[in-house]
Symmetry: C2
Subunit: 351 residues, 2 copies
Amino acid sequence: MVRTVKLAVIPGDGIGPEVVSEALKALDAAVRGTDLVIEQTPYSLGAARYLETGDVLTDDDLSAIKQYDAILLGAVGGTPGDPRLAGANIERGLLLKLRFELDHYVNLRPTVLHPGVVSPLSNPGEVDFVVVREGTEGPYVGNGGAIRTGTPAEVANEVSVNTAYGVERVVRYAFAAASARPRKKLTLVHKTNVLVFAGSLWKRTVDAVGLEYPDVAVDYLHIDAATIFFVTDPARFDVIVTDNLFGDILTDLAGAISGGIGLAASGNINPDGRFPSMFEPVHGSAPDIAGKGIADPTAAILSVALLLRHLGEADAAAEVERAVAADIAERGDARRSTPEVGDAIAARIGS
Amino acid sequence: MVRTVKLAVIPGDGIGPEVVSEALKALDAAVRGTDLVIEQTPYSLGAARYLETGDVLTDDDLSAIKQYDAILLGAVGGTPGDPRLAGANIERGLLLKLRFELDHYVNLRPTVLHPGVVSPLSNPGEVDFVVVREGTEGPYVGNGGAIRTGTPAEVANEVSVNTAYGVERVVRYAFAAASARPRKKLTLVHKTNVLVFAGSLWKRTVDAVGLEYPDVAVDYLHIDAATIFFVTDPARFDVIVTDNLFGDILTDLAGAISGGIGLAASGNINPDGRFPSMFEPVHGSAPDIAGKGIADPTAAILSVALLLRHLGEADAAAEVERAVAADIAERGDARRSTPEVGDAIAARIGS
Ligand SMILES: CC(C)[C@H](C(=O)O)[C@@H](O)C(=O)O
Ligand SMILES: CC(C)[C@H](C(=O)O)[C@@H](O)C(=O)O
């Protein structure tokens, strides 16, 4: 029986289209021989589209995208400092808007130091953890404002909003993830000694949900201390659950210690299935290297693995990850073009 | 002519008293032969004092401390999870209260990778930068609150407050610091694409003050990207200016890459001189190793160097730093006790 999945593809800006092409090759190879048919529809969104039409994300775009089963996104954002983009905040108006409107409350960011990858750490150990970053609350809610802007009396505030509703659901997801992994360890990262109200909510929620998971060992670290362990002993981590901003910071650092964000995949997940989930590399549009055919498509390809797992195709997902791991292991110092890497990985899938 | 400086000494909890003893040896050695006389008064503040008296920091304590020329602090905070401390937040009620009440708007945290120190990075390069962390605003203002606490409808907010007044003064300090250093480079770290109001204030302030410093090269990084460069290319940084929370995170990471926070010094500075500035190691009270005589007093000793420089004794400060660098260079793997390290460094000062 054939199962059809409707996939919205947003290649975006800069290196986005280049890495998405390769990710789609991997996706094609992975679904070959399964009962899955992926129906792809490209959406032109991002800085380029804004410069053409003045639109970042219209209501029509949004309703159209909501009809899909899932989304694959490359990267969005123009050249920093481009005066024509001064009026638009592509990150807020497009990327974050999608995460919020599609209720992507789990931002899932696995970190694996693959054999063959050179870490900037001299002694990283076996790094294999996943950050469960909250995606719809915290300092990302856009609840800021300013008065007397541009005067010596200006005050600019940013409000971090945290709800029991929002914290509990992501904490539950994290406990379930930890419980399904061999080491069964969950670390909450926050700053409870300073952000006492938000911190207390997170801490109490982890304590309460933890009672339902006696098999999961729970740990707590302040965000500052967590960054220390990321460079001195990253192998200690299994599952990390944290707020939107701390998760943003930790996952870039996680990418860096595990070989660069060219390898870091992510899923913006709506576990309820009410809205399509969105898969994207952690890296940005990198305008400086766009069009040169030198971007590493690996993070985008690994995001396809997360997409497949989300669609219930665990075997196909594992196959993509196996192919990537094998490619990485033999990569060495060879400089390959973006399509060369994509072709090499696609050729390994199912072979 | 003799100059008398009144120093309030707060040894604090855990390893605090142990490292402060050694720091005072270095201070004694450094002022010997100068016209400086340091009059020390110990203040018993911290978790131990709270357990004894129920007070964290009384109004009387605060007015007494305000009369000093400077403060040396070890570390405060009890054993995490101690139920007797559940009602007190020593960090907020003591450490942060001092920083706010004494208007320590510059939190100065130099990072140097000393020859002889093993970094967890395999190729750190020449690391020598200073983080100028804002100390009296941002998410640290204590402007949070919650409703319906403990119910499924709880909402917990934290407000980051940023003022032109507060941002401009710390940005000015950072530009002056950058201009006085050989490389003359200033990097603003923030998250302007998400925290748009606070970010815009910081960005505009740096742009405006930068016009007065044409000799200083200015750069901008998002906090997430900054953590990447901290592990891939920390040598690129010279002076970093950033907000209170980002500075907290970055300076622990900075400590980690430069050999551990056992070496990281800090100054909480009120540049106006209206209130005493406070010098303290970045590390905490480390209750797990307290009383064993194995804490590294180097960070506390380097904090004395910052104190001396703040008092206008640049030569004595450099002498302490020279002694520390020499000690570190010959440290090797030898396990020495806290007093052994302190004595060794003190013996090198002025010799
Ligand atoms: C582009 C930016 C808004 C985004 C974020 O802060 O979440 C990015 O850094 C990420 O981690 O996906
Ligand atoms: C103890 C804590 C409140 C403090 C801070 O967050 O500033 C510490 O981490 C520091 O960096 O001095």
